[in-house]
Amino acid sequence: MKCITDKKLLDYLNGEVKSKQKGKIARHINKCETCQRRLNEWKNVLNITEDLVQTDKDSIKFPQFDTIINKPQIEPFISEESSFSWLKYWLKPAIATAAVAVLVLFAIIFVPLKEKVSVNPDYVVFENEYKYTEAHLIDDEYIIAFEQSMLKEIYQDEELRNKILYGTWEYLYDIIDLLSDEDIKFFENEINKTKTT
């Protein structure tokens, strides 16, 4: 067995590997001094990090719960109890249905435009990750579409594909960021196939 990657070592220490793999890794570490040393290094890093985070957390003074919750802006929301909530209950689906109908109509009319309609976005993703400047709202569908398009691009680019399949693992980590769990599994399988043949 080849030496264990840093990423696997970290997963191992965090209890994030399956029991089958766990045994394999443990057996290798027992035999390999290099991996033993590397494992201890990572153990050290994790210990120090956890210690420091605890120290940092201890030094933070938390505001009282009352000061957070009893601010004048919040109170109305706590005490507000609508007597027409049953109406909301029925009205909401009706409005939603109407909205969907309008959207569908819209979609039929403007199909050639292929405009993407975002539904209930509730998470912000940043285009420029170093600056938190341009934020836009996206939804699950968008993320999936994006990941799929990335995968397609990787597929179509032969050089890139070969680098992933026959290159080093380190290179893979740059791309893994963009892939879903299934995609990663697929690539791992492909790599294992090429290794065994």
Binding site: V45, V53, S59, I68, F126
Partner: protein, 174 residues
């Protein structure tokens, strides 16, 4: 969704949300404001809460969303000076040990600042909020593999920096 249930959720999580705000915004006053506004938003949007996502996942999503918008609007004028922050000292330790720990502590805070936003987000949620990887994945709507990669890159950076400063050797492995 019962209001009492919501109140309980807020009571249980306000420290965690405050902690996240402090680490992201690096300013106590801003963090307090942001935490308040987050819970206000939660009350306002409770009918948008989709039952299929866990309430706590939803809370974190609102929180992160708000913190990012907050830091967008308000470039912190008064940054919390990490070096002057109260440093927690354990009394039964030698001055050398205290100094060493303080150095480590400052270094870690520096490194956290240098992480990419994605890495920082995962690091804070993992270590400061004590969340599991699959919980983080759900909150950020990313695959588990992506979250673990972000975490790995963050830890790799931390390890490299600590090695560069030779802060790793003095501490023994337990």
């Amino acid at each position: 969704m019962e209001r009492s249930e919501l109140n309980l959720l807020i009571q249980k999580n306000y420290k965690k949300i405050f902690l996240l705000s402090v680490k992201m915004l690096k300013n106590y006053e801003d963090a307090e404001d942001a935490t308040q506004e987050i819970f206000m938003k939660v009350y306002q949007n409770i009918d948008k809460f989709k039952q299929e996502s866990k309430l706590f996942t939803w809370l974190y999503r609102i929180a992160l969303n708000h913190i990012y918008n907050f830091s967008n609007k308000k470039r912190n004028v008064k940054n919390l000076n990490e070096k002057n922050q109260n440093f927690y000292i354990r009394t039964n330790e030698t001055p050398e040990k205290v100094l060493y720990e303080k150095e480590l502590y400052n270094k870690l805070n520096e490194i956290i600042e240098e992480l990419s936003p994605k890495q920082k987000e995962v690091f804070l949620l993992r270590y400061y909020n004590g969340l599991k990887f699959d919980e983080i994945a759900k909150i950020l709507k990313k695959s588990l593999g992506t979250i673990k990669s972000n975490y790995f890159f963050a830890m790799q950076k931390i390890k490299k920096e600590l090695e560069k400063e030779q802060l790793l050797e003095t501490k023994e492995v337990s």
